[in-house]
Symmetry: C2
Subunit: 579 residues, 2 copies
């Protein structure tokens, strides 16, 4: 491609409305332009990168035995009513009526459509397993779209759905996708980690997210410094503290103390001159309409998702004031376990506590010297806290590490949630009707590109890993009005293109400085600079974008050198991944 | 791919709701399934063919200098209001409101979006020309979707948009797309014709449709038996009849005759004992609210689009009864030119008429011996008729031929319609602000596949041309329980796949007859049959789908033979097109 002809509008200024670096650089490098809130156009440079991601995905999905389909983006309401999600999905589901007043939605995901397709066609165990995937545009009416294509309303996604006859088959399908995803993100040149994730109300026993490591990531990740354990922060388990022998500590008498307008842990701890570790917080939740009191040590935070999974409820939120007053008899800020009219569950952080402080369920009062058994009882202790640096790995008790990441892929064992609701059944070996077991597997294509930029950039712009680079090489004659330079550039360009190299020829009549700045901004891995001084010696300069390394190479060796460097940079990325 | 693993549900029965053969065969061959009215899922076999069409399109668009982008399917109302189409487009434009009550539509086409993108980025003549294309899903809420993916509501389309600084540039861009389209449809293995088409209210001076020749086509095509003239029936011009010397025929006196309840040409001709060629029909149209009387010879039909273009009006329709009565003073059926209160235009078929019959503008009366000049006058004669077999080529006067076709592509010189309305301007060489000149160019991807099937099928199923075939070769061991047959099939399959051949191995435990039927139905160009008798002689059978030709080939020669046949069938299609 010739730069002079390419639709590649670069910008020097940092766009004011772009918060994260990938969004800024995708705008500045002329990869995307915003059409409307959370809706973007991909320009030629940006779309070249998307296509590279898609190609890698296709190759690896096909290799894993998945088959490509293409499903409609406009979906009839009836299917969503069948699965129950028409009511449940909320405003992210963009609904509309057609000219005949029939209800439709824009597909935010395709479980309903694929299940409908499969239930009509797959009838016997001999036709299973099947794994069908597509690469397609989705729409979710996010309330607050942001970060460019990272969290947009319209976005590209590869989604796959597996259908198996039994649990072992479903686990094998899951494992195959897990391995395919590792290969995909490795081949994209990303540093990533698969982490255990919450499978939420989608149901099913396992779920992993593939996280690209980046400080700007929206997700917290937790991983063991020693063993292979890794999880999304919202899912991360912690090892319970070892049960200490507390028998030497005497139980002191329960004492109510007047704590006028003292509510928070900090206030209580200062007022009563105790540490937060001496206090137990009582958080009241509304779990499917029922009040639940969650007890946790004063210096810890409750992980709502763990509570939700522990209780097995559908929806959970912090209780409103009226529920708090109903179960405690006091306003917010004075809840405690003694005498509370709610189910009580306690985090493991309370395991070794005795004579602790908590709210008295009475306005402006707390109680000291509360103890289990004597003052209230709980069914069991559980892991209900947000993991933090002081916690130990749930598997091996070694130290946990924390990082930030961007979710680019998600694999889900769905079980029979959709196949049961929609009647996707088959006849097994014995002629008995069984429900198919499903998995679903997603990769955000635009998000993968953005995550790659978050991980690969410097003050001058993007630094593409070779496998996703929109061009492998940029050829920069420093002055196209110098015929010798221009001719050399043209010849090199022609011969590289003929060899299948993806080359961009910067044939613009611009100053060398401008060309160098653009080449750095759009992040082409290798720049060949053709200048008068070196050319007089029969040489050109090869500059590597990521290391800044510059070498003068004899003209007759430049092609071979470039081919070697491209090949080695492709390999480097495949082996350079974490997992 | 192994047939046993593929999601390829074929059907023996002809689906009752599929009218055209391509729709029937796409369903029966497991290429598509309907999700909702005019909304289809592509299954793996169907999507393989779509991807082949897309790949050919990409290669040829890139070769022609177009650059691939990807634009949003969800588009804000504001842009459509700017172009004026928000009001104009009607119910085919699927509109909806998002959670913040902002208005959007699903893109039925992308002139507005691309013009918006370009006006913000292209500022000087040095950045022109540009041609940007995308391959993307469109949605048009067709009132009566039908013929499967041929006329669906959701459909795949390649759309390209060119932006030029001047008319010559715009014509060059158009010519390049015209050539690219010829290459694309040739490479797809289609028999097609580019024909002149009406550019309608989109405006601009030229427009061509690319028509795949098929008797089932919705469009009529007209082409000259001698010269290169070819046009869509709705656009097809005809040569005017040579002006005869009519001086010898005396003008007879105008006579009103009572024709009680006699209205149609047939009735008048029988009642008055004249031929339809002696009668002039007077058709009253409502053209942008104004009445216009179109005169045409009794045996011809008015081409409404020609009338519309001749008048240069925006909307035209046959007048309602009230307008007819207003301008003629009589009910429908008795309109004539004499004394009518409307502008009169006459088709060239009237050129040599004298003493003709027409309506009397009085209920139950006609007039005889009407003559130009004496009884009424007209400004000019024009070509306003629907072309038919008796007409002569407008260019060379030779005979016209008629055929049916399916429109698979359309190239349009748009001019400044959108760039003017939306302010897409640039500074020319002299620093003067100018409006960009646009072209737009579309190809329906699904429709191209359906049209290919309309053209290539027999009583047993689809007969794919090699370039679009989902698989090039199907390997059919007649009995997979015969180890020698199965092993031979597996070895051949592995070695073909290793050589890059797209092979389908029918490893199903089915009777040979079932396998043969499916292979024919899904239309794979070459079938390799592996049976016990021939294998005992060290041979397999190669059967060509389109000719039915069968040859027994020695095992050691089969690979070379197949590679040669595939290559020759790819070439055959590239050169085998009409244009």
């Amino acid at each position: 491609m010739r730069y002079s002809e390419m639709f590649l509008p670069t910008e020097r200024e940092v766009p004011s409305d772009a918060e994260v670096i990938s969004h800024q650089l995708m705008l500045r490098a002329g990869m995307i332009r915003k059409l409307s809130a959370g809706i973007y156009c991909y320009l030629p440079l940006g779309y070249r990168v998307i296509r590279k991601v898609e190609q890698i995905i296709r190759e690896e999905m096909n290799r894993a035995g998945a088959q490509e389909v293409f499903l409609p983006m406009v979906q009839p309401a009836e299917l969503w009513q069948e699965s129950g999600r028409w009511e449940y999905y909320g405003k992210e589901l963009q609904r509309f009526r057609d000219r005949h007043d029939r209800e439709y939605c824009l597909g935010p995901t395709h479980e309903e459509v694929i299940t409908d397709l499969v239930r009509h066609e797959l009838k016997t165990y001999r036709q299973l397993p099947k794994n069908l995937y597509q690469i397609q545009t989705k729409f979710r009416d996010e309330i607050r779209p942001r970060f460019g294509v990272m969290r947009s309303r319209e976005f590209g996604m590869k989604d796959a759905y597996s259908f198996d006859a039994d649990e072992e088959g479903a686990e094998l399908s899951y494992a195959r996708m897990f391995e395919a995803y590792k290969r995909i993100f490795s081949r994209c040149g990303l540093r990533f980690r698969p982490v255990e994730a919450d499978s939420g109300t989608i149901g099913g026993s396992f779920s992993h997210e593939f996280m690209v490591m980046a400080d700007s990531g929206e997700d917290g990740l937790v991983f063991c410094s020693e063993c292979a354990y890794a999880a999304n922060l919202e899912k991360a388990e912690v090892h319970p503290p070892e049960k200490a022998d507390m028998s030497a500590i005497e139980e002191m008498p329960l004492t109510e103390v007047h704590t006028p307008n003292i509510r928070t842990i900090e206030e209580v701890s200062a007022f009563l001159d105790v540490t937060p570790q001496d206090i137990v917080k009582t958080m009241i939740f509304n779990a499917d309409g029922q009040p639940v009191a969650v007890l946790i040590r004063g210096d810890e935070e409750v992980n709502e998702i763990k509570v939700k999974n522990y209780l097995g409820c559908n929806e959970i939120e912090l209780a409103m004031d009226d529920m708090i007053e109903e179960v405690t008899g006091a306003p917010r800020g004075f809840a405690g376990a003694v005498g509370i009219r709610a189910r009580i569950v306690a985090d493991n952080s309370l395991l070794n506590m005795k004579n602790f402080v908590m709210g008295a369920n009475r306005e402006d009062y707390h109680v000291r010297n509360v103890n289990f058994g004597r003052d209230f009882s709980i069914a069991a202790f559980a892991d209900l806290k947000i993991a933090r640096e002081t916690d130990a790995c749930p598997r091996c008790r070694k130290a946990l590490s924390f990082a930030r990441g961007i979710e680019v892929g998600h694999v889900f064992k769905l079980g029979t949630k959709y196949s049961k609701a929609m009647g996707a059944s088959f006849l097994d070996r014995n002629g008995k009707e069984q429900t198919m077991i499903m998995g679903c597997y997603g990769i955000g294509t635009g998000r993968t590109v953005a995550a790659c930029i978050e991980q690969n950039n410097d003050e001058n712009g993007i630094v593409w890993p070779m496998p996703l680079a929109p061009f492998q090489v940029i050829i920069t004659p420093v002055n196209i009005n110098d015929k010798a330079l221009a001719d050399t550039a043209e010849r090199l360009y022609d011969s590289l293109v003929a060899k299948g190299v993806e080359a961009l020829l910067d044939d613009r009549d611009e100053r060398a400085g401008v060309k160098f700045k653009d080449a750095d901004l759009i992040g082409i891995p290798i720049r060949v600079t053709i200048g008068p001084k070196k050319l007089a010696e029969g040489k050109v300069e090869i500059r590597i974008r990521d290391t800044g390394e510059v070498n003068a190479i004899l003209l007759e060796q430049v092609e071979e050198t470039l081919l070697g460097q491209i090949a080695s940079k492709m390999r480097e990325n495949v082996s350079g991944s974490h997992d």
